[in-house]
């Protein structure tokens, strides 16, 4: 399973590096969305607003939806799907590999957006660094959930629009816990409790994905 996961993750990341969609399209989109959020708050309120963590995760959500669609589109053509199916790869390994690749892409994007939040929204650098572990876990859990739901919508009619509808309920607790953890890092408050919730959510999505990804692929 781990061998297949590393193989699939390396392949997905290589494809992303080659296509440069993350670099030239997704990251600029995220930065622009963050910039617009800063402009919406206005220069006097950006630094003092408690909306920074929420805006960060809102923009991250948009970016994540784009990346999930990209991840599923890699095997999107019927011919490629059939060819890869005849390799008989362990579906649990495929799930872990695609989740890992998506997580790496989201982590990179998240770091850029976090830097953007410090610059544009004047989020405190120290607080952002304290929040970093919880951000990484939140994005990891979003990757696992996104890969799972991406498999459900892949290949269907209107999959690009169906994906947000299905994933938002799954992402909601992650976004809330991530935002609360980020806010606690900035303004004080319970921190470990949110980290535990995020870690449990990550483990739960990974477990469900390992068990069900093969069934979802077949269906």
């Amino acid at each position: 399973m781990i061998r297949v996961a590393l193989l699939v993750a390396a392949k997905d990341l290589r494809i992303e590096l080659r296509s440069r969609v993350l670099l030239w399209q997704v990251v600029p989109f995220g930065v622009m969305a963050l910039l617009l959020s800063g402009l919406a708050l206005g220069p006097d309120h950006a630094g003092n607003s408690s909306a920074g963590p929420g805006l960060f995760y809102l923009v991250t959500l948009f970016v994540a939806l784009l990346m999930i669609n990209r991840s599923q589109a890699i095997e999107g053509t019927p011919g490629t799907k059939a060819s890869i199916a005849t390799l008989g790869l362990d579906p649990a390994g495929v799930f872990l590999g695609k989740s890992l690749a998506l997580a790496v892409e989201l982590w990179v994007t998240g770091l850029v957006l976090l830097g953007g939040a410090v610059l544009v929204l004047h989020t405190a650098l120290h607080g952002a660094l304290v929040a970093l572990p919880s951000i990484l876990v939140t994005l990891g859990a979003m990757s696992a959930a996104g890969t799972l739901y991406g498999a459900i919508t892949a290949g269907g009619d209107g999959s690009a629009t169906l994906l947000p509808v299905l994933t938002l309920p799954a992402f909601a607790p992650l976004l809330i816990a991530g935002e609360r953890s980020f806010s606690s890092a900035l303004h004080g408050g319970a921190l470990w409790e949110w980290w535990v919730i995020l870690a449990v959510a990550l483990a739960a999505y990974l477990a469900v994905g390992i068990l069900l990804y093969g069934v979802l692929e077949e269906s």
Partner: protein, 218 residues
């Protein structure tokens, strides 16, 4: 009468898609080491038959085995590892190079990557081995498909309209290679609108119409 060396055995095989019959009662035995061409008009069921044999669609009713694996109760993942599929839509990662695609396939199947050089040489892609797949012509993509299969060495080759987009030299090359594959002991099933060019191959021809076998040269 079906023999013990049959790679494919289908009895009254029916495949349904949303209630519509793609195959409507196919009886077919394909012996090991044979070359078989499935022909028929568009919508006759050629691709559906190949997809059934590859374990890519489920058997709705009837019985069948492929490479000794039951199509209903057998391990479909194990079945897929034993067949090689070349579809007509293009079957690779477009953003990876020829070499990267083949390395991925080899590692997925735990085969040595050292065979890649000889395989790309065999299919005439040695000069494009580091070219991104999306930059290949349609004919070169077919050759990459063959390289993928040569690397895998499946016991059952399923080629869905492999002659599409091939020029004369490409078709001749394809026929020659299929002859070598069959001589090596593998079984080949090709779907095609036209018969194979090489008279030396003398394939068995199976004509499908309406999801049934209506003529069989065996």
């Amino acid at each position: 009468m079906a023999g013990d060396l049959d790679v494919v055995r289908l009895r009254d095989a029916v495949v349904l898609s949303n209630g519509f019959p793609l195959l409507s009662g196919v009886d077919l035995d394909i012996p090991s080491g044979s070359l078989n061409v499935v022909t028929g008009a568009n919508g006759a069921g050629k691709t559906s038959l190949l997809r059934l044999l590859a374990g890519l669609v489920a058997l709705s009713t009837g019985t069948g085995t492929v490479a000794g694996i039951d199509l209903i109760e057998g391990d479909q993942r194990q079945l897929r590892r034993r067949v090689g599929w070349l579809g007509h839509e293009g079957s690779f990662y477009n953003d990876l190079s020829v070499r990267e695609n083949l390395v991925f396939a080899a590692r997925a199947l735990e085969r040595p990557t050292s065979d890649i050089e000889s395989v790309v040489e065999r299919v005439g892609l040695a000069h494009r081995v580091d070219t991104t797949t999306k930059k290949l012509s349609a004919g070169q993509r077919r050759r990459l498909g063959l390289a993928w299969l040569l690397l895998r060495r499946p016991e059952l080759w399923l080629l869905d309209e492999p002659y599409a987009s091939l020029d004369d030299s490409g078709r001749t090359f394809f026929d020659d290679l299929l002859g070598d594959v069959v001589a090596g002991g593998a079984t080949v099933v090709v779907s095609a609108h036209d018969p194979l060019r090489s008279s030396a191959l003398r394939p068995r021809t199976i004509l499908l119409a309406g999801g049934r076998v209506v003529r069989d040269s065996a």
